[in-house]
């Protein structure tokens, strides 16, 4: 015991320290988020300045939602070591469930207006039939499926936004964790779940309009007179608030003893079990919680995107999510936000024709095609040269040099590269 430790470091889990003192990054994050929100608001069309187009405000709002689901991914993967490759299923479900209300109410408004021009007042049955034909005509139906039973009630549909994905995550997690499925096998199972859900929704008789998905979601019922510029900024605010609340909630969950337990599960599951903790229960809790956060993010995302269809929950979406979090840096909440915001904005810049093509003389590099290659190379580079992601590089710049955990896995899964013990 030659060396003695400095006594300056903050002791986690101590009573006398407030939550903020333990997590200074929360305050910094909220401050940046608030400044960003204010800045976008003043530059948007809604306040009359119009430096930022409405569609760009929507892109930024959607990006905030993607940051929120990245936080959920970091909770479940970065902190608890469960590499879920199916979280976009919950995100998409959240979008579908809010989309049902949006589409139903708006169609109802249109139908009621047009039927009111008739000689006789329309019966409720006529209204329902007309709504059914309007919404489901595209898939050759006119009956309103039973799953749309609550679509007339905003409150019920909002409740379903959390209940349905929450229940799906709970049942899936309960079955998987109870059988002690972990590592790669769990990742494959989650991929199967999201693929199955997406294939089911692609069917015309799934009751959710098959591959057409739900559309026109940017038109909020009852707000027909409000310009999209205002609606876009409202949704931007809502997304910013959700991200802020989500960040504080996540930081609270991963600090303190609960955080200690799930990080323990990530690093050495068996050891936590022998300490007397019910590991399966903890995993199930964090998996379900993150699914709920993902669903809320989806419910805010799709009204800004305007359309939700089964392709959104294809397996590749969830893999991108893991890539964002890996690039941003796992196990640090701001890393997930940096990764999601950076990569998704870059992605829309490259694929949206923002990046100039490169003419090599014999071949023209078109970024719409080559962006995935660039992303792949970037991902490999981060894995090789900065296994802790962008967030890990920030450590070297901003905080005192971090000490590595010697002998520990670089990744949370068994079989990942292992550092040599000194």
């Amino acid at each position: 015991m030659a060396d003695t430790a400095p006594h300056t470091g903050a002791r986690s889990g101590r009573k006398r320290q407030s939550f903020i003192a333990q997590n200074p990054s929360v305050l910094v994050f909220l401050l940046i988020l608030a400044l960003f929100t204010l800045g976008v608001t003043f530059l948007s069309e809604a306040t009359g300045n119009a430096y930022l187009s409405t569609s760009f405000v929507k892109t930024l709002g959607k990006t905030l939602c993607l940051c929120l689901i990245a936080l959920a991914m970091d909770l479940v993967w970065g902190y608890c070591g469960i590499l879920s490759l199916g979280h976009f299923a919950f995100f998409g479900l959240g979008g579908y469930l809010i989309g049902m209300w949006l589409m139903y109410e708006r169609t109802k408004g249109i139908v009621v207006t047009s039927l009111a021009q008739g000689e006789l007042p329309a019966t409720p049955q006529e209204i329902t039939d007309a709504i059914g034909t309007q919404i489901f005509g595209v898939v050759g139906g006119s009956e309103i499926p039973i799953i749309w039973y609550f679509a007339d009630s905003l409150f019920a549909q909002l409740a379903l936004v959390v209940l349905v994905p929450g229940l799906l995550a709970f049942v899936f997690g309960w079955l998987a964790f109870r059988s002690r499925v972990s590592g790669v096998y769990l990742s494959i199972l989650t991929q199967a779940m999201t693929l199955a859900l997406s294939l089911y929704l692609f069917q015309n008789d799934s009751g959710l309009r098959g591959n057409n998905g739900l559309s026109g979601l940017q038109n909020i019922p009852g707000l027909d007179a409000v310009p999209q510029a205002s609606i876009s900024i409202w949704f931007f605010w809502a997304s910013a608030v959700a991200l802020g609340v989500g960040y504080v909630l996540s930081a609270w969950v991963v600090s303190g003893k609960f955080g200690s337990a799930i990080k323990g599960i990530r690093d050495d599951e068996a050891r936590v079990r022998f300490l007397g903790y019910n590991v399966e229960g903890y995993k199930l809790f964090i998996f379900t919680l993150s699914a709920l956060v993902a669903a809320i993010a989806g419910a805010l995302y799709y009204p800004q995107a305007g359309i939700v269809n089964p392709a959104e929950i294809a397996p590749i979406a969830s893999i991108y999510l893991a890539v964002w979090v890996a690039i941003g840096g796992r196990g640090r909440l701001y890393g997930a936000v940096i990764g999601a915001a950076g990569v998704s904005l870059l992605s829309s810049w490259f694929t949206g024709g923002g990046a100039p093509d490169i003419n090599l003389g014999f071949y023209v590099v078109q970024w719409t095609d080559w962006w995935t290659v660039l992303l792949g190379v970037g991902f490999v580079a981060v894995t090789l040269f900065a296994p802790k992601g962008i967030g890990g590089m920030l450590d070297y710049v901003m905080v005192k040099a971090p000490r590595d955990r010697h002998g520990a896995d670089f990744g949370p899964d068994q079989g990942s590269k292992r550092e040599q013990e000194e």
């Binding site: 015991m1 609960f258 050495d268 520990a408």
Partner: protein, 246 residues
């Protein structure tokens, strides 16, 4: 004397290899016991069975005053019932501070919701402090446990075991890779612990076992070969043949 843990007639087979063969063993409530034996004698498998990691093919494992059948409990429930285990390789949570490691191990309600809303009381804080003192890591409380030396990690793990306040401690090769000073300290910690609870130490090192001054059980090919004081078993011809003579 009523026994705390009673293992009787336990056998377990891995792919045709009989790792434990009709093993019977018992230990009282405040007793130190060393288990020795050559490699493959079934020492670690024995611990796996008691802690619920491995299910035996036959036999009974009975625990405590209420004669609980341990074979029906999960690992977590067995740990909660009061059996703590230290692994051969020090397994502490390297990414977390010594303080967090000890706090996590502290005997408390382990259900997810209780832990989520847990706030560290002054009482728990004091408990962690006193544990740290016991294992000589008071100065290291705020360090990440991954930065500790090998010996310190071993102590931290013993400290985490003590924090669980188990009635039975299972300790696998505590002195492996330790300097002589560290060994002496480890012996002290274990002997202190054995005053109030049962301690089972699996160890290869005879010198270390001698210093523990306790009853010794010799395992060989999955069953008990001899039992008694160290001097007694080292005089046993069978023991000399299979283990000491080599």
């Amino acid at each position: 004397m009523s026994s705390l843990l009673e293992v009787s007639g336990v056998s377990v087979t891995f792919d045709g290899f009989r790792a434990i063969n009709n093993l019977s063993f018992q230990i009282g409530s405040a007793e130190m016991r060393a288990i020795i034996g050559p490699n493959g004698a079934g020492k670690t498998t024995f611990m796996d069975i008691v802690t619920g990691k491995t299910r035996p093919d036959e036999g009974r494992v009975i625990w405590g005053e209420r004669s609980t059948n341990l074979l029906k409990l999960s690992e977590a429930k067995i740990a909660q019932a009061g059996i703590g285990r230290k692994f051969q390789r020090p397994t502490v949570f390297e990414d977390q501070s010594v303080y967090e490691n000890l706090l996590l191990a502290l005997r408390k309600d382990r259900s997810a919701f209780t832990v989520l809303f847990y706030l560290c009381s002054a009482d728990d804080d004091a408990k962690v402090e006193s544990l740290a003192e016991q294992i000589g890591l008071t100065d290291q409380l705020e360090r990440k446990s991954g930065e500790l030396s090998h010996g310190q990690k071993q102590w931290l793990e013993i400290g985490m075991l003590l924090a669980q306040e188990p009635q039975l401690l299972l300790v696998d090769e505590p002195a492996a890779g330790m300097t002589p000073d560290e060994r002496a300290h480890t012996t002290d910690i274990l002997r202190e612990a054995a005053k109030t609870r049962a301690v089972i130490v699996v160890e290869h090192d005879m010198e270390f076992v001698r210093r523990l001054e306790c009853k010794v059980t010799v395992l060989h090919e999955g069953s008990v070969l001899a039992e008694g004081s160290l001097d007694h078993v080292t005089k046993n011809q069978d023991v000399i043949d299979v283990y000491l003579g080599r």
